[in-house]
């Protein structure tokens, strides 16, 4: 204790590497733009200048290889479900999923009679944050993304997980 105690001035940040990593991850979660239906319009609005997702460090990427967060914006049909799964598997770890809108969370208006609609994207891939709404306003999406950032910030990537 005596070796390091009170050694550093105010201009040196003292922090755990664990926390530093999760802080870095949480402040720049680049998202994979994945517009499958009308929610995509709200996602675009959220990314455009008025709401500006860049403020919270989010940049839209068109390739799963460059993205950390997949925002599933819209209805996922059975035909699309296999592609969603494949694209999720192509993303590099660590990866997160935001289910945007009623369709992606539960099937939405198709939840009972839509024979061709996946009843929630969580059937094929693990979802971290659900954003309800039909479609959710950009503010709601931003709220969901801030929740995701909180969640990432709480992670301890280097600490051994208790079984």
């Amino acid at each position: 204790m005596g070796l390091l105690e009170n050694r550093f001035n105010d201009n040196v940040i003292v922090e755990k590497l664990d926390k530093l990593l999760s802080w870095g991850r949480s402040t720049s979660p680049w998202f994979f733009q994945f517009g499958t239906a009308c929610c995509a319009i709200e996602m675009m609005a959220a990314a455009a200048s008025r709401h500006d997702l860049m403020r919270i460090g989010m940049i839209p990427r068109s390739s799963p290889r460059q993205a950390d967060v997949m925002i599933v914006a819209g209805t996922v049909t059975m035909k699309m479900a296999l592609r969603v799964k494949k694209l999720y598997e192509q993303m590099a770890d660590p990866k997160y999923v935001v289910a945007m809108g009623s369709c992606a969370t539960s099937g939405g208006p198709y939840w009972q009679h839509g024979y061709h609609v996946l009843k929630g994207v969580d059937i094929v891939i693990p979802v971290d944050v659900y954003v309800p709404g039909c479609p959710p306003r950009p503010e709601a999406l931003i709220e969901g993304l801030l929740k995701l950032q909180e969640q990432i910030l709480d992670e301890r990537p280097l600490t051994r997980k208790m079984a």
């Binding site: 479900a81 539960s106 009843k119 929630g120």
Partner: protein
Amino acid sequence: MSTDQDKLITELVEKGLTGDMEPINSIEDRVLRSKAKAALAKAKRAAKSQETAEPKKKKSEEKSSDDLPSSVNLNEKIVYMINEKFPGSLANENTETHIQLKSDQWFEIATWLKSEPSLSFDSLQCQTGIDVGDNTLEARYNFHSMKHNHYTEIRIAVPRKEATIPSVEQIWRIADWFERETYDMLGIEFSGHRDLRRILLPDDWEGWPLRKDYLVQETYHGIVVPKMKEGWE
């Protein structure tokens, strides 16, 4: 002002038609002169086409729909012509809203509908299908003629077990995707279609969703299809 001008032009055209070009050429205003000349050319053309059209008209009247009074509507006329040209291809004589045909001569009739000058249905506006019950599927075609600006609807009913209708994809190219959708949703086979695949659903989907007796398959590639979320009701 303009009505005066019109009067003047019509007078000049009448003179011009008799061969007297002097008054037209002596107009000082260039705009008015060119207007008058254009009107004269139009009048000459109209007179010419009237002369040539009249004998033709008589000929076509001799060929078909000769005894029909002028008050018959288009569907009645088409039914009359089909009955003469393709006997036995009408499913019934009902002409109120549509024409009901049998499927066997449909390709020939479709070709004729497009090529017959007095009909010339050059535009297939919509092609769709419907399950009408009683184990019957029906394909419906909406036609429009750009030339005559008239419309008609053709319906072809087929039994569910052997739902095959000749394709018109090579007559109206738009029918390509229309027929693929009808095939996708109702399972009506369009014989002669060059690329009859499902268009909306995945290729390996089972069943025809818009048939009344459709039952959703239980799984698709391991994904459970008709999942009810627990605790929703």
